[in-house]
Amino acid sequence: MTIDHRTLLASRRGVLAGSAAGVAVHSASPAFAASSSQKADADPTAKVSLKVNGTDHALDVDTRTTLLDLLREHLKLAGTKKGCDHGQCGACTVMVNGERINSCLSFAVMHEGDEVTTIEGLGTPDDLHPLQDAFIEHDGYQCGYCTPGQICSAVAMLQEIRSGIPSHVQDDITEDPSVTELEMRERMSGNICRCGAYSNIAEALAEFAGETA
């Protein structure tokens, strides 16, 4: 049953793993101009070099390009989703240098030298990340649109707990936090699921966190 479900998911939506193909590599000069350039009749652009899922990219982009749009429109990594585009929903969550951020609220040109991990870097359709497996096992989605952001967020969130970042629900903030359902729920509040699959997401997280604790 799990396999059928997984096949269905991968073929119908491909949401959990995103597109593994379609990585456009722009091999421009690695030299970086610290200032943006502006021709008289063109909108300003700037160069940025960064690593996405282990692959180096050097691009020259309109300065207005968010990291989210760079991933989706320039690198064709459409696993990362655009929900609200205002940092309220968390669908665009990716990891930058291991920390989760809203990629919609960050300009691409500000990521010089950064290492970005998207859902495509966590798992592939043939080799799912254990948390993707847990989401399937516990039905942690309906439409699946928020799922890549949920998974990227959760992987980094567990690392935050382990590295001692405190949270609002700790009774004693001088203590190191622990991986509890209450902690995980509070720390995932930046990821909205419009379908309301929260209880199943929480179960998937509990299973994954238990395995990796």
Partner: protein, 320 residues
């Protein structure tokens, strides 16, 4: 979004100098508020100066036993610092009560002080707003104002300062260290950093054009028990209706600051003096209040939230 040119600054003084050299320039650090506002063209900078490379990202002890927090220290890192958690618990409590994990990883100490109001009429460019467009009027007065201010507001603007961190900094008597475009530095007491709106709600802080925040200085630890109780429409990831930052000593004396009710973190000497009498302190904090029908409840909510803090300080009731 309007087009803009972009540069990375190499030093604080260089960044401040660049800010007055380029017309319409703005600093950008975490960008979580500025980029949001640029997308809806409430903010329209022609030039962005990226200050992330300035090295202002460490927390160091000061000679008098306080802490100097670099302006670029992220909210997450500041909340997690062992010294902050031990000696300035109200600050960690306030930070983790705000925003989301993703946002706290990007938001910076300096940028968070400059977070702009969340008044819906400020965000909606089809509405009048004296803060966004001076002289255009205020849509919030007579409009939807549940979230908005009850004290320190004016007949031009009833917006609130929305953040949590600064409310804790206010109760701790922090200072804001800056550098100006001419290279001179100064420290601004947190109580003087945010301005009341008066007739100029578009002028929000004491910063001059091109002045860059370089650090926030915490005085030596106050001791006592630290509290940050935040009341909001959702239990996580929502702005405060009312929040109370307090440091309460064993004898019941202490300090209290309130968020969510005014253009700045609200602290009144008479309220500190009235502690531990919650009702008297709350009366002092809301004296002269000019609420709307939508937000009149905040007067009672200040007293009840403060009473909850003081009960917890006495060892009664649950934690927030």
């Amino acid at each position: 979004m309007r087009p803009f040119t972009y540069e990375r600054a190499g030093s604080p003084a260089e960044a401040a100098a660049a800010a007055i050299r380029m017309q319409g320039a703005r600093f950008i650090a975490g960008g979580t508020n500025l980029i949001d506002l640029m997308k809806i063209e409430v903010e329209t900078p022609a030039h962005l100066i990226d200050v992330n490379g300035l090295g202002l990202d460490s927390i160091e002890g000061t000679q008098d036993g306080g802490l100097r927090i670099g302006a670029l220290v992220s909210n997450a890192d500041l909340s997690a610092d062992k010294r902050v958690r031990r000696d300035y618990g109200v600050l960690t409590r306030a930070i983790v009560a705000g925003a989301s994990g993703q946002l706290r990883n990007k938001a910076t100490t300096g940028g968070n002080l400059l977070q702009r109001t969340r008044c819906p009429y400020f965000y909606d460019t089809n509405q009048p707003c004296n803060k966004r467009k001076p002289g255009s009027g205020c849509g919030a007065i007579g409009g939807f104002s549940r979230q908005l201010g009850i004290v320190g507001v004016s007949d031009k603007c009833i917006a609130t300062y929305p953040g949590d961190m600064a409310v804790a900094l206010r109760v701790l008597d922090a200072k804001v260290e800056t550098v100006k475009p001419d290279g001179t530095t100064r420290t601004i007491p947190i109580g003087e950093f945010h301005r009341l709106w008066g007739d100029t709600p578009h002028i929000e802080t004491a910063l001059e054009t091109g002045e860059l925040i370089t650090a926030v200085i915490l005085p030596p630890p106050l001791g006592g028990r630290h509290f940050y109780h935040k009341v909001r429409d959702r239990r996580s990831y929502a702005f405060a209706l009312v929040s109370i930052a307090a440091v309460i000593q064993q004898d019941g004396s202490g300090r209290v600051a309130v968020g969510g009710i005014a253009p700045k973190p609200w602290r009144v000497p008479a309220a500190d003096a009235a502690l531990p009498d919650a009702a008297a302190a709350a009366r002092a904090l809301t004296a002269g209040a000019t609420p709307t029908e939508d937000n009149r409840f905040k007067i009672a909510l200040v007293e009840r939230t403060l009473a909850g803090v003081l009960a917890e300080a006495r060892g009664e009731g649950a934690t927030s």
